[in-house]
């Protein structure tokens, strides 16, 4: 191995002689390209060119392609070229290179920037509309599946639903209790800190009670469930879609909605209210604890004040919202899961979309409920 490739040129009358030597291989490709450019730039007036490959020590497809590129360029310029001193072992490779790349590559057409931007806006709007439509479609399919189950209850996949309830509900209990407890405590601490300035410490109990039961409990639980279980639903269904498991189910005469999606959605709709109840209690407990230890409101006072401040309505508002929000999370997660295409990247992006979209819709729904409950005076 002499180390470096070279391309020496010498002129003999009207013919130019190019002598290639050294390793013409991939690691030297950039250097070789430069050599070729220099050698061909030098003389434009010669008619005949001999390309001597005798000195080449190693040749791979990259080198062979570069030699072929010289030949094509010179041919295109109407010069007469000859290959000299080609070793037998390289002949096949050079012939192969000569055969390749004759078909023109299709040009990728790129529209102008303004049109592309408009195109982008249009496509985004259309995809928004179609995703809403897909969600409606999923809701309808699930409702139809539910009706089928009412007619023939024995077809319901009870085991599967219990399995999913275990994953979505039971296993989520520790983390939900922990987070809602902490948030309840933080709200109480902030309330005491600010209310104390005008001597209204005791109203912290009202704030904690109403806020937790109506809003914070259910919202926190839904955000947690969307991130924890909604993403899992999307990823599972997406992976099944990628491996054609869903197609396999279909061909065996099963409806994936019955088998995979209905048990998951019923599980989440049952689990979220339970988690909301547990979470609200934990948040009240955390709030009460902070009121006692930090605000000096002892538990008896806290409880009697809480009893005056909240009514069953407050509790009912939170609990009524829970299953609807759970339904949204489940529907979004399953829809996005089935929208996964072949690539690993699409699995990731659909999972992200699933979580973002379900949290967004939960909050929108919460707003609608606020309007509704205000209208019915709850």
């Amino acid at each position: 191995m002499s180390g470096e490739p070279s391309l020496k040129s010498s002129i003999d009358g009207e013919s130019l002689k190019l002598a290639a030597a050294g390793p013409w291989t991939a690691p030297h490709a950039r250097a070789i390209e430069r050599l070729i450019e220099q050698a061909l730039r030098q003389r434009a007036d010669v008619r005949r060119i001999d390309l001597d490959l005798g000195g080449i020590e190693r040749l791979d497809t990259f080198g062979a392609w570069l030699i072929e590129r010289i030949l094509r360029k010179l041919d295109g310029a109407g010069r007469e070229t000859r290959l000299v001193g080609v070793a037998d072992s390289y002949r096949v490779l050079l012939q192969e290179a000569h055969r390749l790349g004759r078909r023109p590559a299709p040009l990728a057409r790129r529209p102008a920037t303004l049109i592309a931007a408009l195109n982008n806006i249009g496509a985004t709007l259309a995809s928004l509309a179609s995703s809403l439509l897909m969600l409606m479609n999923m809701l309808g399919a699930v409702a139809a599946a539910l009706l089928r189950v009412f007619v023939r209850p024995w077809t319901f996949r009870f085991t599967s639903m219990v399995h999913h309830m275990d994953r979505v509900g039971w296993r989520a209990v520790p983390i939900i209790l922990m987070i809602t407890f902490l948030i309840g405590a933080i709200i109480a601490q902030q309330g005491i800190f600010h209310f104390r300035k005008f001597g209204a410490d005791i109203f912290v109990v009202d704030m904690v009670g109403i806020l937790v039961l109506r809003e914070i409990g259910v919202l926190l639980v839904c955000v947690m469930v969307a991130g924890r279980s909604g993403s899992a639903y999307t990823a599972e269904l997406g992976a099944m879609k990628m491996r054609e498991e869903i197609d396999a189910l279909r061909t065996m005469g099963f409806d994936p909605i019955d088998v995979l999606i209905l048990p998951r959605i019923i599980a989440i709709v049952l689990a979220v209210p339970i988690l909301t109840f547990l979470g609200s209690m934990a948040a009240l407990y955390g709030g009460g604890l902070v009121c006692w230890l930090y605000g000096g409101i002892n538990p008896d006072v806290f409880l009697s004040r809480l009893r005056e401040a909240i009514t069953l309505d407050h509790f009912a508002v939170g609990m009524i919202k829970a299953p609807f929000m759970a339904l949204i999370i489940g529907l979004v997660a399953c829809t996005e899961g089935l929208a996964v295409k072949g690539s690993a990247e699409s699995l990731g992006s659909q999972t992200t979309t699933s979580v973002v979209k379900s949290i967004f819709l939960v909050i929108v729904l919460d707003g609608l409920f606020a309007v509704f409950f205000a209208a019915v005076e709850m």
Partner: protein, 257 residues
């Protein structure tokens, strides 16, 4: 394309591989010569893929030695290992194309990482490699999920060949292809082997491939290599499994047709 033709590029010596209590390979020794196409056969589950994956370093071994290009893969540092890995290409059974990259990007990926190439050369060579495996430039911008089984294998082969390797490992290259495509693929491997001077290590079940392409065949059974040699030696063997394999119903039908 340097070195003596009769030099062993892969040497496996007394290799032991197992999972838990189950010993899959029990002191296997095998040599692959430069420039040959070695067909590697054995019953399903006998450990053919395990041997291949152990040689390329995807599975740990319990004992024994693997030498590739005369480099002991245990004693080599990270850089030396990479240098060896650049000189081989692997075609996985299901292609293992990167699903988020297009065909063109899949082929360019190893070139981009390992080589310093101009953009123009990168584009040209990627299309040239694609054409070498029999696919046109119109496939270049497709994604792996849009390819048929045969096309996936071809693209995977193009990617395995991206760095102009000296050895290619093929794991069941013709499985899942129809006989015509499988025949074309065999022919392709033969042609590429001749053009590029490749050494090919091919795990296969395809009797046609073994007949048409392989210079030598190694048979794995009961955790060891029970025979290695040309097809004629395989047909002459008296070992019951080999008799059933090479002279069974399917083999006969092949010869009669």
């Amino acid at each position: 394309m340097t070195g003596q033709p009769d030099e062993a590029v892969i040497k496996v010596h007394d290799l032991v591989v197992g999972f838990g209590r189950n010993i899959v390979l029990d002191r296997v020794s095998l040599e692959v010569m430069r420039g040959e196409i070695l067909g590697f056969v054995g019953a399903s589950g006998a450990g053919k893929s395990v041997l291949m994956r152990t040689i390329i370093g995807l599975l740990p071994k319990r004992a024994g030695r693997v030498e590739v290009f005369g480099v002991d893969m245990d004693k080599v540092n990270e850089r030396g290992r990479q240098a060896v890995e650049r000189r081989w290409g692997v075609l996985f059974q299901h292609g293992a194309l990167f699903s988020s990259l297009s065909v063109r990007q899949n082929i360019q990926f190893p070139m981009r990482e390992y080589l310093d190439l101009s953009h123009r050369l990168l584009e040209e060579v990627a299309l040239a490699k694609l054409e070498m495996v029999g696919l046109g430039p119109e496939v270049a911008d497709k994604f792996p999920s849009e390819l048929s089984g045969g096309m996936t294998k071809r693209v995977a082969l193009a990617r395995a060949l991206a760095l102009d390797p000296e050895i290619v490992f093929l794991d069941e290259p013709t499985s899942g292809l129809d006989p015509i495509s499988a025949g074309e693929f065999d022919h392709l491997i033969r042609t590429l082997q001749r053009t590029l001077g490749l050494t090919v290590f091919m795990v296969t079940h395809d009797l046609d491939s073994l007949h048409n392409v392989c210079d030598r065949i190694a048979v794995l059974a009961e955790g060891r290599i029970i025979a290695a040699g040309p097809m004629s030696a395989m047909l002459a063997s008296a070992h019951p499994w080999m008799k059933a394999y090479f002279q069974g119903e399917r083999a006969k039908r092949r010869r009669n047709s």
